[in-house]
């Protein structure tokens, strides 16, 4: 089974802090994704990566950046956290070669105070 692990289930940070959300997958998947999930809005794509050091903006990249230095790890960075970034963040990975679906982590519930 694919295992996508997000480093924290719950995280509380302060406005203006630099925040790192980490995600690791164990299936050597090429593609990794970061989503934000808000009630009534569903999931929205922030960034995705299709290879090491490669990234592409999703639908709501403003205020976020990402890093992928190793294939198995994809980090989401909030450069200067703001209260409107309080949300649930979901990481996912996918192997595009076999037309597999995306596999999700458990999510990180981030609160910015």
């Amino acid at each position: 089974d694919v295992k996508v692990t997000q480093s924290s289930r719950y995280l509380v940070k302060r406005t203006g802090e630099k925040v790192f959300l980490e995600c690791v997958q164990d299936m050597d998947h090429e593609n990794m994704f970061w989503y934000r999930q808000d009630p009534g809005l569903g999931l929205r794509l922030i960034y995705f990566s299709y290879d090491v050091k490669m990234k592409e903006k999703g639908d709501i990249p403003e205020g976020y950046s990402v890093s992928r230095e190793k294939k198995e790890r994809f980090s989401l960075i909030l450069e200067s956290a703001s209260t409107n970034q309080t949300s649930m963040y979901l990481c996912a990975s996918r192997d595009p070669l076999y037309n597999q679906p995306q596999h999700f982590g458990d999510g990180t519930r981030l609160s910015i105070l």
């Binding site: 994704f33 009534g40 569903g42 794509l45 995705f48 979901l90 037309n99 679906p101 596999h103 999700f104």
Partner: protein, 114 residues
Amino acid sequence: AQTVTQSQPEMSVQEAETVTLSCTYDTSESNYYLFWYKQPPSRQMILVIRQEAYKQQNATENRFSVNFQKAAKSFSLKISDSQLGDTAMYFCAFRNGGSEKLVFGKGTKLTVNP
């Protein structure tokens, strides 16, 4: 741009009954994929079922089946013999064949009552 619409924010069903969740989508593409994902309370999102647009036969996974109406751009999920463990948020999602982007609907909260 592709959009996915789930018109039922919340639904409930009695245990052992059948329930159908609606999903419509908008695209001008011919090669695409559709998915239903399930997110139980405080638990991981998992894939329930998927459908390739080029396949005419509706996908089925045990108690879960879809009604894929390509011309109407409709992709509903039917859950038969509902169980308490089916209580979850259900998201319909769409992906173009040449894209990595999944477009999600806003979700339907399903409650199965004993």
